[in-house]
């Protein structure tokens, strides 16, 4: 009973956490599912979003412009990864690692130090929620509204001519080229949008906890992947609407599961190991099953 109590008490907090990380899951879905461009820039664009938000707020600007600049910075980070890949033809994951590593220094440059407390500044919650800004329910509602707006906007975009083109580039580059689509343009655009979403997640998290830290991106990629996979198991990915809803639902469910596991007594420091094994199992087992001979597995 005490376990259940400990879990239910935490539901509002973990629900808010889940909705915030939904942006990262959505951002990860684009490269992995729409563009066939395995990318881990999210690990860097997430703290970048937080850093830019904190620095802009510290400089005296309002939270809306701080969030907007965080989104723009995330777009540039994602686009850089894609651009490096298109120019040098390096492996996409290596391009992401390079960008994430460089962003660490850039974040500290932006903030002037490794972290910034933001307790004294206005944030999205205080200006949109006013007196309700301390209420977890109101915060959940606001972040959910932003998440739904972003998902809907992304859905609409993917149904436009440009959106179809972007998805075609992900499906078949030879087809896309033959139809006159610049694959570089759409890959850069798509990975840019993904970076923007992750940065928005970082920005909102920083504003929620009134604290930005250069290390806050550690592990977000694997958590986001886990969320995406959970969501796809529950919602499916047969249609575009399902594919876009899956990361949202997945993030919310995933963080509830994690919270429950912690309530059961799991060590928080074991979380990354277990999440990693979980992602490995869900991604790896189907691949293992589809291989005919053991020797194939080594290739």
């Amino acid at each position: 009973m005490a376990i259940l109590q400990a879990y239910t008490n935490l539901i509002p907090i973990t629900l808010l956490q889940g909705v915030i990380y939904a942006f990262v899951a959505l951002g990860i879905m684009i490269p992995f599912r729409l563009l066939s461009f395995p990318d881990l820039t999210a690990e860097g664009s997430f703290p970048l979003g937080a850093s830019v938000t904190a620095a802009v707020l510290a400089a005296g600007a309002g939270p809306v412009s701080a969030t907007a600049l965080a989104i723009a910075a995330g777009f540039v980070a994602g686009a850089s990864t894609a651009l490096i890949h298109r120019v040098f033809r390096l492996n996409t994951l290596l391009c992401g690692i390079l960008v994430v590593t460089m962003l660490y220094s850039i974040d500290i440059r932006i903030m002037g130090k490794p972290n910034i407390p933001m307790f004294t500044y206005d944030d999205l919650f205080s200006i949109f929620l006013g007196n309700w800004s301390r209420s977890l329910g109101a915060r959940i509602a606001l972040v959910s509204a932003i998440a739904i707006i972003c998902t809907t906007a992304l859905y609409c975009f993917l149904k436009t001519e440009m959106g179809l083109a972007l998805r075609a580039v992900g499906a078949s580059q030879s087809m896309a080229r033959a139809q006159g689509l610049s694959t570089s343009y759409y890959v850069i655009l798509g990975i840019g949008i993904a970076g923007a979403l992750s940065a928005l997640g970082g920005s909102i998290l920083a504003q929620n906890q009134s604290f930005a830290d250069v290390n806050m991106g550690f592990g977000v990629l694997v958590n986001g992947l886990a969320s995406l996979i959970v969501g796809e198991q529950l919602i499916g990915r047969q249609t575009l609407a399902r594919q876009l809803t899956a990361p949202l639902v997945g993030a919310v469910v995933y963080y509830q599961v994690v919270s429950f596991a912690l309530a059961l007594g799991m060590q928080p420091s074991d979380l990354k190991l277990l999440t990693g094994l979980f992602v490995l199992a869900l991604l790896g087992l189907p691949l293992l099953r589809s291989r005919r001979t053991p020797s194939d597995a080594l290739v």
């Binding site: 001519e161 998805r167 139809q179 610049s182």
Partner: protein, 258 residues
Amino acid sequence: MLALDGLHKTFHQGTPDRRAALDGVSLALRPGDFAVVIGGNGAGKSTLLNAIAGEVMPDEGSVSVDGVDVTRKPTHLRAAWIARVFQDPLAGTAGTLTVAENLSIAERRGRRSGLRWGLNAENRKRYQQRVAALGLGMESRLDQKVGSLSGGQRQSLALAMAVLTSPKLLLLDEHCAALDPKTAELVMKETVRAVDSEKLTALMVTHNMQHAIEFGNRLIMMMAGRVVYQAEGAEKAALTIEHLVKRFHITSDRMVLG
């Protein structure tokens, strides 16, 4: 319509694997020409097609389409003039998009994409009729993902996409080779119908001798990166498989002995 002038392309230049895939190919297609390219493995057919499409940049020579020099243009900038059907049905269509969405992209081939809806009531209706005309029972599958279609349906769709907006030049890259014989005949029939009714200029690479004899007004035989035989008009019409096989054997013997 298509003019190739002295195309050279050598792969693995400066290594022991050096291979001249195109060794001075010049060719001119007139508007309405339907040229069929045949030749053994390594004859340079694919490289020729890729050089025209923009996937391969020639070391020397030029490619122009409808009077425009496109030699230095990448594939996607040639798409305004050139449509291509690949051998692999998966290569020419986007499996995660629906039939209608694929057609929408094809209809805007070589044009800018904007933020208008990709599909609307008006273009959907047109695609519906297009797809119905293929006679493969796909008219009810307009909103299904192309990945759920059979290889034959997918290739018919790829062909429909290529000819949707009457390209200046249609490239057919052994587009029936990966299909079962019955579907191959169906797709070939549809190809001829489209080329004739839209008066398209087409270049088809094939391994199928019967197709080479039966279709097109020009025949081009390649060997070791060169055009070694051309026939058109009455000469082409008088060709028989036996005649061609004989020539093929001579050329491949020559390749082996030479």
